[in-house]
């Protein structure tokens, strides 16, 4: 029973170094990548002046995000649009793929949100230095008075920590709740029929609804953090 939330790992010992792979998460991440590749390849196969169904869906996604990024980031927003959109689609498909049996969400493992969060941190620092200069970027930490420097640093790290743990906490919580519901009701034959109604509801709420909202919030917050340091 104490195995709630544990992750399968494989350990190698190469030249005295212990290297640990979360092979389950890695396989699921590659599955997500191939699902996205195949889906978008099929959707963009026929590009016409008069859009078909797949092209209309793609144009809808790209156009709505183009408006969001333009309002928030301002000049050069087309350079940031692919990054934000990629993060959104990757997190969305990662959260949604958990509703398929056997396959688990890659975002359930803390390392996947952590990697995405560190990526966003690098882009934030890079665009801050690129558009304000190195000293302009450093000067932000000494506002309004110089001795608030440590507090500003802690606040900046806390922003990204909350970005990472929000995604992890929601997806992990959803999967723990689904696991508890299924183990509780599958104990005997006369309670398991409840799962006929409860199972789709639980998967629909925690898998599809919360997953979509958290993917959107992750993308929007990354965009906002980038726009704060850039402008």
């Amino acid at each position: 029973m104490h195995e709630v939330g544990s992750i399968d790992t494989t350990s190698f010992n190469i030249a005295g170094l212990d290297i640990t792979f979360n092979h389950h998460t890695l396989i699921m991440t590659w599955i997500v990548i191939f699902v996205i590749l195949i889906a978008f390849f099929l959707l963009k196969r026929k590009i016409n002046k008069i859009p078909g169904r797949g092209q209309a869906l793609l144009e809808l996604i790209i156009d709505s995000f183009d408006g969001l990024v333009k309002e928030s980031i301002g000049e050069n927003h087309r350079k940031y649009l692919p990054f934000i959109l990629t993060i959104f689609i990757f997190v969305l498909i990662s959260n949604w793929i958990g509703i398929v049996p056997i396959i688990e969400e890659p975002t359930k493992d803390l390392n996947t949100p952590m990697g995405l969060g560190i990526l966003v941190l690098f882009v934030t620092v890079y665009s801050g230095i690129r558009y304000n200069g190195f000293f302009g970027f450093i000067k932000e930490f000494f506002e309004p008075v110089w001795f608030l420097f440590p507090i500003n640093i802690v606040g900046e790290i806390g922003k990204f920590l909350s970005l990472i743990f929000r995604l992890f906490g929601n997806i992990f919580g959803g999967s723990v709740i689904i696991w508890v519901a299924f183990t509780m009701f599958l104990k005997s034959w006369w309670t398991s029929w409840i799962l006929l109604f409860l199972g789709p509801a639980v998967y629909g709420f925690f898998g599809l609804f919360i997953g979509a909202i958290q993917a959107f919030v992750f993308a929007i917050l990354s965009m906002t953090y980038i726009s704060i340091t850039k402008n």
């Binding site: 029973m1 104490h2 709630v4 939330g5 969001l68 309002e71 806390g158 922003k159 920590l161 909350s162 743990f165 929000r166 906490g169 929601n170 992990f172 919580g173 959803g174 723990v176 709740i177 508890v180 609804f209 919360i210 909202i213 959107f216 919030v217 929007i220 917050l221 906002t224």
Partner: protein, 159 residues
């Protein structure tokens, strides 16, 4: 003394979920009430109000979902039989930390969501801007309960 670990674990789970549900309950009720009031005044934009209300409430609920995670982890973790008082104290502290950490953010996010719904009722054509500002405000308000979640997971697993 042998059962102390188990007693403290269940007590802690109760505190975490019970206190953690207060804030989210009040916040969601406040948002729902504001949505009813606004859609009584402006029935034409009821679909926009409904959308913001539902998504705002889903984000309010995530702080009580954190409390639920901590409570479930506490219930299903098997406490070792220790004579030391440190581990039970850490377990109790994790429950208190998550419960009270979820209380304040539930209230705060509920306030934000109710103001967002009210604003959409007042100027429905500015709905995208209000909705986005509401999401960002709620997400920043949520970060304190995420700190509580991190600390209580550390207390459960590392000490």
């Amino acid at each position: 003394m042998g059962n102390l670990g188990q007693i403290i674990t269940f007590l802690s789970a109760g505190i975490a979920m019970g206190v953690g549900a207060i804030g989210a309950g009040i916040g969601e009720g406040h948002t729902g009430g504001k949505a009813v009031q606004v859609s009584a005044r402006q029935p034409g934009v009821q679909d926009k109000i409904m959308k913001s209300m539902l998504i705002g409430q889903a984000i309010i609920e995530s702080s009580s979902i954190y409390a639920l995670i901590v409570a479930i982890l506490l219930i299903f973790s098997s406490p070792e039989q220790t004579t030391s008082i440190v581990k039970p104290a850490a377990i109790l502290s994790a429950g208190i930390c998550m419960g009270f950490g979820a209380l304040g953010t539930g209230l705060g996010k509920g306030y934000t969501a109710s103001k967002g719904v009210e604003g959409i009722g007042r100027s429905p054509h500015n709905e995208p801007i209000i909705f986005r500002t509401m999401l960002i405000g709620q997400a920043v308000a949520e970060s304190t309960s995420i700190y509580a979640l991190v600390i209580s997971l550390l207390l459960i697993y590392t000490i």
